[in-house]
């Protein structure tokens, strides 16, 4: 069904899902939403499957007209959306009437926002995914970013709640996007190719996100990192968040649209939960890397999935469950309180 017509698309607005997995061995990059947390929450709030295709916008949200009644949710970078000139809350499902126009003010913090529409966005799947991979012009909307006049269709993702509206994410769960982030990494897979002093410097200095940063990777600027014996390795696979350091000594963090293989030594790899934070960093933001153990990374991931599970429960039964995030002596706990009717 025709659902949305783009009036002003914004500088980089694409269709994304969780990414195109299973074809990296053939040289096909994964792509997918950069901030998977915000993207998944947007889907949950409108009753979609977590992996339904949604709109990812960058720097500026799109102005669009709804061609049918819809339920939408806007998450990610902090901005002010408008429904026919009336400001709208983010991180909440909203009923939008046919003929309404959604528009956005500029972004206050963060970089990328998500608009999920009930039923998910229906573009053809390419190799099992609806994600746009711009460099090879595949997936998403005709393999390209959205343009004025494009008409997006919706599908039948999720439980199909016709009036899945006013589901709101409790405040404590809304991420806080900063311009100075601590990003946790696991050293390796080729940390042994770097000088010890350089690894120490890498972990104790601030690195700036430069303007040469995009969905493929972030080029950073900071103290030079020195290799023991050259930057080149025999090309191998690149995991998400890999931090490769070419001969010039400035790190590059490889992200969603990264090529599948590469020939630069990788000093460290960003842990999966912190990729979402990275996705929201604008050029000029600063990063400080912190080395953690695998155990800490797994704990962070489990905590995140636990949170998303609670949010899902809450989103489906907003009247029945109240979810609280508690912080007790530095540790976060999630408590859900259910009303019991007798």
């Amino acid at each position: 069904m025709d659902a949305v017509r783009l009036i002003e698309p914004g500088p980089l607005t694409t269709i994304q899902d969780r990414g195109r997995k299973g074809y990296q061995r053939f040289g096909m990059p994964v792509a997918g939403a950069m901030d998977l947390f915000s993207y998944r929450i947007a889907n949950l709030l409108v009753g979609n499957d977590e992996g339904a295709a949604a709109i990812e916008f960058t720097l500026q949200g799109p102005k669009m007209e709804f061609l049918q009644d819809a339920v939408i949710a806007i998450t990610g970078a902090e901005t002010v959306p408008f429904l026919d000139n009336k400001p709208l809350p983010m991180w909440q499902s909203i009923f939008v009437r046919k003929g309404s126009i959604i528009s956005f003010q500029g972004i206050k913090s963060g970089l990328r926002g998500y608009v999920a529409i009930g039923g998910g966005i229906n573009v053809p799947q390419v190799l099992g995914s609806r994600s746009t991979y711009l460099r090879a012009k595949i997936g998403g909307f005709e393999g390209r970013k959205l343009a004025a006049g494009d008409i997006i269709k919706t599908g039948k993702s999720g439980k199909g709640f016709p009036d899945f509206k006013n589901r709101r994410l409790p405040k404590g769960f809304i991420p806080d996007f900063k311009e100075y982030e601590e990003i946790r990494v696991i050293l390796g897979p080729q940390a042994e190719l770097f000088k010890k002093e350089s690894i120490e410097k890498f972990l104790s200095s601030a690195y700036e996100v430069t303007a040469q940063s995009d969905r493929m990777g972030y080029r950073l600027k900071g103290p030079i990192i020195k290799h023991k014996d050259g930057a080149d390795i025999i090309s191998d696979g690149i995991p998400p968040g890999a931090i490769q350091v070419p001969g010039h000594g400035q790190p590059i963090i490889m992200l969603a649209d990264r090529q599948t293989t590469g020939g630069y030594a990788k000093i460290a790899t960003v842990i999966s939960t912190d990729l979402n934070k990275l996705a929201q960093l604008t050029p000029g933001s600063k990063i400080r890397f912190k080395a953690v153990t695998l155990e800490e990374a797994y704990n962070a991931l489990r905590a995140q999935e636990n949170t998303i599970g609670k949010i899902e429960e809450f989103a489906i039964n907003p009247g029945l469950t109240k979810v609280y995030k508690l912080r007790i002596s530095g540790r976060e706990f999630i408590a859900s309180v259910e009303e019991i009717h007798e």
Partner: protein
């Protein structure tokens, strides 16, 4: 005995590293291990990416921890001799050499003091190991080209190279899967599609197999191209 290294690459991937060299011997170990991992159907493995001398194993940490996965991979390594691995395939790439389809063929011949016919003969004689795929979807990193036809890249890369172009860069040969810019010396073109999202399987080649080029004429080129468009072409393969 060479020790295989297992290294964490973040919290979702493990690198399995073999000897630090580019050789058919090492790459065949990569291929065997890759196929053995696939056969094992281990829970939690999402994707295995074979490269020159290593494998990247992506896993879901909510289903399996990295350390237990490494133990399981080591088990597979120890049983590798028992696991039956099929022989590599040789995929035939029909190629129309020269003229508009290979505008640099003459240069390659002149550069190496050979006739055009000799270049074609040398290029289509070899079996090339597909070490890995990468760079662009479906692009094969090939080994085994004769030094007799090695030619440096163009000084000014072309902005638009048609899909299927066969080229030489230094002592490497390769095929452009999709239209892209590039600096390889173009010697011919294949009517086959290395990447076709509407076809099953979508990729013509896989890492660890071999390919060989077969010279065809223009008439055959268009005949095969037509069959490829209609999804009726059967790619010729043989066992190594």
């Amino acid at each position: 005995m060479v020790v295989i290294k297992y290294k964490a690459a973040g919290d979702m991937s493990i690198v399995v590293e073999f000897e630090n060299e580019i050789s058919e011997k090492v790459n065949s170990k990569v291929r065997s291990m890759c196929l053995a991992i696939e056969k094992s159907m281990l829970t939690g493995i999402e994707e295995v990416i074979p490269t020159y001398r290593s494998l990247l194993v992506n896993y879901n940490p909510l289903e399996i921890r990295g350390d237990s996965l490494i133990e399981k991979l080591k088990d597979i390594e120890n049983r590798l001799e028992e696991i039956k691995i099929p022989k590599p395939k040789v995929v035939e790439i029909p190629t129309l050499y020269g003229d508009d389809f290979g505008p640099d063929l003459k240069f390659v011949a002149n550069y190496n003091n050979l006739s055009i016919e000799e270049v074609i003969k040398i290029h289509s004689r070899g079996k090339y190991l597909i070490y890995m795929l990468g760079f662009t979807p479906g692009f094969p990193y090939l080994g085994g080209m004769s030094e007799k036809i090695a030619t440096p890249r163009l000084e000014n890369p072309r902005t638009r190279i048609p899909a299927g172009s066969v080229g030489i860069a230094g002592s490497q040969t390769g095929i452009y899967p999709v239209e892209s810019p590039g600096g390889w010396r173009l010697i011919g073109r294949t009517p086959l599609k290395l990447f076709n999202p509407d076809h099953q399987p979508p990729f013509l080649l896989q890492a660890g197999d071999y390919l060989k080029f077969t010279a065809i004429d223009e008439e055959e080129f268009y005949r095969i191209k037509d069959q490829v468009e209609k999804n009726q072409y059967h790619v010729k393969t043989s066992l190594l």
